[in-house]
Symmetry: C2
Subunit: 431 residues, 2 copies
Amino acid sequence: MAPSTALMTDRYELTMLDASLRDGSAHRRCVFELFGRRLSGGRRFGVAAGQGRLLGLLRDFRFGEEELAFLRDERVVSDETVRYLENYRFSGSIAGYREGELYFPGSPLLTVEATFADAVILETLALSVLNHDSAIATAAARMSIAAGDRPLAEMGSRRAHEHGAVAAARAAYIAGFTATSNLEAGRRWGVPTMGTAAHSWTLLHDSEEDAFRSQVASLGEDTTLLVDTYDIAEGVRRAVEIGGPRLGGVRIDSGDLPLVAAEVREQLDRLGNHDTRITVTSDLDEYAIAALAASPVDSYGVGTSLVTGSGYPTAGLVYKLVAREDASGTWIPVAKKAQDKSSTGGRKSAFRRLEVDRATEEIVCPADAAAPTDARTLVRTLVDGGDIDAAAEGAAGVRAAREHHLRVRNELPVRALALSKSDPALPTVSA
Amino acid sequence: MAPSTALMTDRYELTMLDASLRDGSAHRRCVFELFGRRLSGGRRFGVAAGQGRLLGLLRDFRFGEEELAFLRDERVVSDETVRYLENYRFSGSIAGYREGELYFPGSPLLTVEATFADAVILETLALSVLNHDSAIATAAARMSIAAGDRPLAEMGSRRAHEHGAVAAARAAYIAGFTATSNLEAGRRWGVPTMGTAAHSWTLLHDSEEDAFRSQVASLGEDTTLLVDTYDIAEGVRRAVEIGGPRLGGVRIDSGDLPLVAAEVREQLDRLGNHDTRITVTSDLDEYAIAALAASPVDSYGVGTSLVTGSGYPTAGLVYKLVAREDASGTWIPVAKKAQDKSSTGGRKSAFRRLEVDRATEEIVCPADAAAPTDARTLVRTLVDGGDIDAAAEGAAGVRAAREHHLRVRNELPVRALALSKSDPALPTVSA
């Protein structure tokens, strides 16, 4: 059985559950909404990601003996609440944006309708997953736009928490990356994996020549040789000598990349290796990738900046109560008024207005308003009375999310594709 | 059985293993070193963290049927290598800095001595853990210094990957935080947990008064009431009315904190609640905490900036081959020469020079050099021929790391405690 995810949560979710079971408010039906007040970092759009992961984690959200013992021994909650949690399974409903969908300020990415008890204890987990994965996917989409048709690999596992790295590889693939170096992302989510060789490979051997010969013997002539351990020009000369005219590629991981790439291309061509590809991997981000657009680079590998969200490692999404029943069962819209952190009450629907296949507005309106015309509905059911939509999970969910993302990204106006800081590319309107 | 950690790695580690098994270099003994070339963000010191987690993950680093099937089916490695991995257990040795220790450019945080086969496939996992946890611990230490004697709670789970959040809570505690909101960090690592209540608690009820009454009834008069859902002055008045003279605390999560804290303190005192504490939690980082030093604040809660390393979410540590045996069994120091990314060959020792209990230098010297006088040795055995030091693992390891960190932080010169960007507080010298 998979480890429980139920304690990956803030203590106050459980103490609020405890207090609400005492005063009876635990059973009030509620609507919580997960959304962002703004886009981090002057980004022009956000990419929603993590929904498929969240559904899997929801299946494992149960309180086993170890979890209950901790809550009991540490007196986090009362014995009555421990008993309540013994048989806890989420029985509410969740509607939300598809994974890979774009979002804008106020877009209701998830809408959780459930009792307070059911909905409150999902808060931390839902936010952890969507804040992390959406931050990575948003950065990844910008890099993918900058890379154009050139392959783009994710290689940042070593610069991220070991589980975060797997999720980052998955989110990057959804947002347009071609492959990842992370094997677990391959195994668990079906993301294509790739790799070259490290400097340690060259240093392990008595000479660069020995290292290259061994790599070509093991991985074939289509492999990519890392040529900058000692001297790049010498490394390229040796790579071609050993790999022959059909050598797959060379990788450059240091130096002034536009300059070095041009020199290496020129050298490869001079040696007759017109089809040997150049991969660059040194501290790239979306701006560095864009700056290499005119350089003879065939593919990119991105590490640190991808797994850290290129300056914005969390998406800043929040989870707020927007409606609840009162004692008589009447729905009441609610909203907090705290300075700079206010929310808008009431359950919402969302649509993207399209004019000739081009997105023009994000419509966020009361759930009972009439659906607008010329607009695509953005909210669909993910969990229905506790039943989880299996199609959104696993490797099939990832593939579907990637296809959806690439499709809807194509609907964006051209100004949305620029990398500089600006306002959201689509205005969020209420009708 | 805990899930395997063996595929949380880059594909090229496995393909290099595969090629080295073919050419025989897999069995060469190697020394790999994990270190940072510089301190991120002009920090004056780094805090090494994650060693205790890494040791636990090393126990689970084995290739089970699922992992082997993936490697076989995807043709990541040859059938011979799959058979080699069936019985793989790390049998090398690891020496390193204690968890919670300070570090500086070039400090050899981990030294892995093993065959190339054993050492190369640990690279990604070791870097993932230490890069993440050290980045968080370094940021946490700065916040802890800024907070002085005031309690400092970690509340950032919702802004980080769900597993990263647990590790972040653990790292923050090691570096001086008092508690965390993350329950799994409490269960797994013994970190003290704490919590107040969310805005949804107030909004769930028919009135703020109902919410406060229920919370006090459930959690007792020592609880902390969140007073900014509607109007802070009104919230404070109501909190005192309901919580009485011994109300534990009020929390403020919005507004101009120095101003609001002063007003709330004045109001509480006027109402006779001199012992009711004020907790502030709105977008704090080390600079905001320092700016509140003269304000009547009793405790801090830090979220986003902690889990994202306050601008530097990864520590930038690297793992490099520094020595290996040649075909005749002679040790050869090795180093790459790539521009801006060079390394220094040879196995190293490290010491901290102290003058009257005050640290003055970080000494990083060849392992066979004589130990300097007036210096504390920094490297100790963590894994000895495959045997893992159990004392460094689990909750006991976390407690020991925290005590060690607070002790060695006290040795730093005063200039090391400033928050502004500067050079490392101690020079790294070679003797």
